[in-house]
Amino acid sequence: MEVSEIMEKTGLKAINQFKDKEVEGVYISDMVSDIITGAKANSILITLQTHKSLIAAANLVDVAMIVFVKGKKPADDVVELATKAEIGLFTSDLDAWSFAKKLTELGLN
């Protein structure tokens, strides 16, 4: 399933210009040191964390898209770095669990 299709089917709001790509998994974490040991390439990262370090970690492991839950939005320089790294940023008003359930309903896990 591609980034744009997930956005459409889960009601995500895009924060930056994103590149459509195939998504292959899901990872939930708010710790950047955990992300580099747990998240996989082309996965969705679900998080509350909006710090710039998050993008440095997500880029290193080639995350496809990041979903900030509970309506969180990162600062402009964070968005700028993610756009340069071609990582799509999105926001959802749901909490992490509720959003993850939507993804499993779509067949992603």
Binding site: K21, M31, V32, S33, D34, I36, T37, K40, A41, N42, Q49, H51, K52, S53, L54, I55, A56, A57, N59, L60, V61, D62, D77, L81, A85, E86
Partner: protein, 186 residues
């Protein structure tokens, strides 16, 4: 030299704390990884240095193992990774950053002692394995990761990099365009 085209995976993943100490005599900084439930905050003397606790953050350590030949590369000398955004004309890392095309990202592997006073840094074998590991997993066609040792940095303490560490992640950080401290390096 090994003939194996390594296929690395993370092994010996351990959670703990990255503890940062500073010497109040000379200003040197040092760090170590503690897997204790509560990281030590002792003050102690070691030769000419008098180390005091400066802070700690949750961290993860790992080694890399090849699934084909079984070799394990110990990354105990890696205390962290930093995305370089260096613009220092005299810094070797900055030069490497400026030589790269779009889609290539330079990360600095940080060792325990930023002064490199004892001549130690992350091993060449560790740097090679980290480069191979992170690049083998990338799926974006035009993307590349370059990992370099921190001994190439002019000054880690002044570097405009983004350290991947779980410290101060809920703080606001100042805008460096107005001359403040580097973003993400707090």
């Amino acid at each position: 030299m090994s003939a194996c085209t390594h296929q690395w995976f993370m092994t010996n993943i351990r959670s703990g704390y990255l503890v940062v100490e500073g010497c109040f005599e000379c200003g040197a900084r040092s760090s170590f990884f503690s897997s204790e439930a509560v990281p030590p905050i002792d003050e102690y003397q070691d030769g000419k240095h008098f180390w005091i606790y400066m802070g700690s953050s949750q961290a993860v350590k790992f080694d890399l193992k090849c699934s084909r030949c079984g070799i394990t590369v110990d990354l105990d000398d890696v205390n962290g990774l930093m995305l370089s955004t260096c613009e220092d004309p005299d810094c070797e890392v900055g030069k490497i950053v400026r030589q790269q095309s779009k889609g290539t990202w330079v990360y600095v592997a940080l060792c325990a002692n930023s002064t490199h006073a004892k001549g130690k840094c992350v091993s060449g074998q560790g740097i090679d394995a980290l480069n191979q590991y992170f690049n083998q997993n990338i799926k974006a066609p035009d993307k590349k990761i370059i990992v370099v040792p921190c001994r190439l940095c002019n000054s880690i303490d002044k570097c405009r990099g983004i350290i991947i560490a779980d410290v101060n992640l809920t703080d606001m950080y100042p805008d460096t365009s107005q001359g403040g401290r580097p973003r993400g390096k707090d």
